[in-house]
């Protein structure tokens, strides 16, 4: 069943790429959209088959592939990957829908998009380390081409930089995986088999650091982030949507799945450092975003900042904080995708993304009033205004991380304040005031330009009001992952005196057997 998510888009991509009738860009778009919608529908069907009470892998598929190498085609989904798989299918639909209907080389373009979605889904589903690596690398090729062919003026530079950085990321990850099998002496790359192996702590730390740097490039962690703003600025809007929405999540997913999942002891050692890096990400991303004038760069650096929240929650590694990390991944995926969509519309209508040039775009008749209103909703969601998914996600991150890393969490909270600074600055400069004469004759905005953003906004608000729809899938898996790093060790490891914090709020760490979100609600109630 899971294979459909990988092979249906591949099959579709092949058909679109090789049949000449898809040279018509509108026809190619419709075909790609139909395949993406089918995949999304299949994903929804899988949700109905998913058992939320089961913390382990479900809907597994196993086929032998290259046995001597330890490579098996083993797929599975759990609470950690399910929300990301769903979001991937959804964002592929959004990205294809929002593609330029008159795009050049439509057969290649849509085929690459479908391949990209397929590879990302494969990476989330793979339960064999080598298989994961294959999908992780496979996803680079379509993304590289999407930036290099349909990107902006400096696309060559940005695409090459992206390729060099992320290929390095792949090499490091592969090195860590090889190291793991070599040192444990296991002949397979299967995740479940490797999870039960034991290694000395020092070796674990070395392997984990390698993985951290590898996935850190993808997330991206400061100072490994410099490829991201360039890639975003040069990528077309649909590519940016997938890049920010899904590709970055591969990094944080990989960290949780393979870093925390395979090296929990070493994770405990490195967690305080990771939390410190999270703070650097949040503050650095936010401050640099404040200094930007290109709307796309502002959103790109805000991604650097907001991915810091995922790192913070992952570092804390309690059942609730793992849940928080998954929630923040989905939240950031939706919000950043929305913001990139909106920036894309602004750019396509005004020809600029420079906030020193744009002004008064909320003008009701000659501006982009609905796009502007959605932008305000988007920045409010990103800034953590209650009622939207950003608030829920960030609140759970803070609530769960504070007991483990209080100072780091408080510093990250500062980042939320800074989000308001750079995004309000953006909205104030570009959308308020009088529309200047040079922008008084913008082309018409059609409903097809608005629809993807409207859908995203509705989803962001819906999940903000009904967060259990976001969290219920992951509670079991988060609790299981959180159990890998017992609380006493963390309090021992943490650089700050946490005894009081733990004493004040014991249920959060100790009652790991109950679903984490309920646990969180109990602890929140007990504080009142």
């Amino acid at each position: 069943m899971l294979s459909t998510l990988i092979w249906a888009p591949v099959l579709g991509a092949t058909v679109i790429a090789f049949l000449p009738q898809f040279s018509n860009s509108e026809r190619a778009r419709q075909a790609a959209l139909a395949i993406a919608i089918f995949t999304l529908g299949w994903t929804v069907f899988l949700i109905t088959q998913f058992d939320i009470s089961n913390a382990g892998l479900q809907l597994q598929e196993t086929l032998p592939w290259v046995e001597p190498l330890g490579l098996t085609y083993r797929l599975g989904v759990d609470g950690l990957s399910l929300p990301l798989v769903v979001m991937n299918s959804f964002l592929v639909v959004i990205a294809i829908y929002s593609s330029d209907p008159k795009i050049n080389r439509p057969r290649l373009y849509y085929a690459l998009f479908l391949l990209l979605g397929s590879a990302v889904a494969g990476a989330f589903l793979a339960q064999n380390l080598l298989l994961f690596f294959l999908f992780y690398e496979l996803e680079l090729i379509p993304l590289y081409l999407l930036i290099a062919i349909w990107g902006g003026a400096r696309r060559g530079y940005a695409a090459t930089k992206f390729l060099i950085y992320t290929a390095t990321s792949g090499i490091l990850i592969l090195a860590a995986f090889f190291g793991l099998t070599l040192l444990t002496g296991v002949s397979t790359f299967d995740y479940a088999a490797l999870q039960s192996q034991a290694l000395p702590l020092g070796t674990q730390i070395i392997l984990l650091v390698t993985l951290l740097v590898g996935f850190g490039i993808k997330i991206p962690l400061v100072p490994l982030h410099t490829w991201l703003p360039d890639a975003h600025v040069e990528a077309s809007t649909p590519t940016s949507v997938l890049l920010a929405g899904m590709l970055l999540k591969l990094g944080t997913y990989g960290l949780l799945r393979f870093g925390l999942g395979l090296f929990p002891e070493a994770w405990r050692v490195l967690a305080p450092w990771l939390a410190a890096i999270a703070v650097v990400n949040v503050l650095y991303g936010s401050f640099v975003a404040i200094a930007q004038t290109d709307m796309k760069k502002i959103v790109a650096y805000s991604s650097v900042g907001h991915m810091g929240f995922v790192i913070l929650a992952s570092a804390a590694a309690t059942p609730l904080s793992i849940l928080a990390a998954v929630g923040q991944m989905v939240s950031h995926g939706l919000i950043s995708a929305l913001l990139f969509l909106l920036v894309g519309v602004v750019y396509s209508k005004t020809g600029t993304r420079d906030v020193t040039v744009l002004r008064g775009l909320l003008n009701p008749e000659r501006g982009l009033p609905l796009i502007g209103s959605l932008m305000i909703a988007g920045v409010m969601a990103s800034g953590g205004i209650p009622g939207m998914v950003g608030f829920v996600a960030e609140f759970v991150v803070y609530r769960s991380s504070f007991s483990v890393f209080p100072v780091q969490t408080l510093l990250c909270v500062l980042g939320t304040g800074l989000t308001a600074v750079y995004f309000l600055n953006l909205v104030n400069r570009a959308f308020f005031g009088r529309l200047p004469e040079n922008l008084a004759n913008l082309p018409r905005v059609y409903w097809r330009d608005r629809l993807p953003s409207v859908v995203m906004t509705v989803l962001i608000i819906f999940l903000g009001l009904q967060p259990s729809w976001l969290y219920r899938w992951s509670e079991g898996t988060s609790a299981a992952l959180g159990r890998l790093t017992p609380s006493p060790a963390i309090s021992h490891m943490a650089p700050l005196p946490l005894i009081e914090t733990v004493a004040v709020n014991p249920p959060e760490i100790e009652l790991v057997s109950t679903p984490a979100f309920e646990n969180f609600q109990h602890s929140a109630l007990s504080l009142e």
Binding site: N363, P364, E365, R366, G433, A440, N441, R444
Partner: protein, 376 residues
């Protein structure tokens, strides 16, 4: 010795002055401009007809009604009409009242003077007594003796503006008919039509009477001598075209910081100065007018607007731009109609007086959107 050839004007708007002196208008002549101006004046004529009827209805039939809940219904209250009103499928009579209040506030002309006269007080008192005598409102009148007379002053402006717009509405519909017949082809033709109609109606009497319990009370009798041009048209142009109120919607003025002149005479926020771009923002009164006019656009003008980049999306802004052009035509007609001497006079003294007259008008248009309509 007097020079027979007049020296060029040194006024900042000298080009416009020379243009007017040579028979031109404040709006350049072009087929598009003629189409826009005539088309928009056609729909304006239809809307003014409704405004005018309603203003006169309120003045005459809603006289001192304390809570005039159905004042926009012209006496026909039905559930269907009420539902349409709530659905907002209606003419925005609020705009007419806004203009009326502009005139009331800025005053000027014989109407303003008459409303402060003893005769007005005497006549008003008689009407008030007839209306409120024997009702609880009599107590109100005794306690606040200025309240009801002030209401009547306002009703007099309702009536005055209604009568002014009655003439203007017919004038604009006639213009449209002439355009349809091919008799109006240039901006000069448009200006000439308006100027002639204004001159023709100049001496029309402005009167106001109400009927209470079968008896007619004349508030403004014909004998007061108020006339169309001097006592309603010119105050209207002053209040609505030039001065208006300091609120554009997107600009917040700070009166305490002296961003607004203390002298209403210095106000320049009127139709000739209004920025069409913020149309549709909250609280911009011309939006209501544009909204009303969009229902009655002639087909050719609608097609012309559809050729723009935004199609229907910025219709009200386009209407406002055309409307402003048409108002510069009306202003041209007014300026030319009030020229002290014929335009083609050869008498140097008369030409100099004409020049001074034009320069005085141009002084007031310095900060208007005159330059913008030259290029749009």
């Amino acid at each position: 010795m007097v020079s027979l050839t007049q020296q060029p004007s040194t006024h900042p708007l000298a080009d416009m002055i020379h243009c007017l002196e040579s028979g031109g208008a404040l709006l350049p002549d072009s087929p598009d401009n003629v189409l826009e101006v005539v088309g928009v004046l056609k729909s304006y004529g239809v809307v003014l007809d409704a405004y005018s009827r309603n203003l006169i209805y309120i003045a005459e039939q809603q006289f001192l009604v304390l809570f005039p809940a159905f004042k926009y219904f012209d006496g026909e209250v039905s559930l269907k009409k009420l539902l349409r009103h709530w659905w907002h499928d209606r003419i925005n009579y609020e705009y007419a009242e806004y203009c009326m209040k502009g005139m009331l506030w800025h005053g000027g002309g014989g109407l303003d003077d008459y409303l402060d006269s003893a005769e007005f007080s005497r006549r008003t008192e008689a009407a008030i007594q007839a209306k409120v005598g024997g009702t609880p409102m009599q107590l109100l009148h005794k306690l606040f003796s200025n309240f009801l007379p002030e209401q009547v002053r306002q009703l007099a402006y309702y009536s005055g503006l209604g009568q002014f717009w009655r003439v203007m509405s017919d004038m604009f519909i006639d213009l449209s008919d002439l355009y349809d017949q091919g008799e109006v082809q240039t901006i000069a033709d448009v200006v000439a039509h308006i100027r002639d109609a204004l001159v023709e109606a100049a001496a029309l009497p402005i009167t106001y009477a109400v009927t209470i319990k079968g008896q007619t009370y004349e508030i403004i009798p014909k004998s007061v001598g108020l006339t169309f041009l001097a006592d309603t048209a010119l105050p209207y142009v002053e209040a609505v075209f030039f001065r208006s109120f300091p609120f554009f919607g997107t600009v917040s003025y700070n009166a305490q910081a002296h961003q607004i002149s203390e002298k209403p005479g210095d106000f320049s926020y009127g139709a000739l100065f209004a920025d069409p771009l913020p149309i549709g923002s909250a609280g911009i009164p011309p939006t209501l007018l544009m909204q009303d006019m969009r229902h009655y656009l002639p087909g050719y003008l609608h097609d012309f607007y559809m050729q723009g980049l935004r199609g229907e999306d910025d219709l009200r802004v386009k209407i406002c731009i055309s409307f402003q052009k048409s108002m510069f035509c009306v202003t041209t007609a007014t300026v030319l109609g009030l020229m002290p001497h014929p335009l083609d006079t050869t008498d140097p003294v008369q030409r100099q007086e004409n020049r001074t007259h034009l320069e005085n008008w141009m002084d007031r248009l310095l900060t208007s959107r005159l330059a913008d309509v030259q290029s749009e």
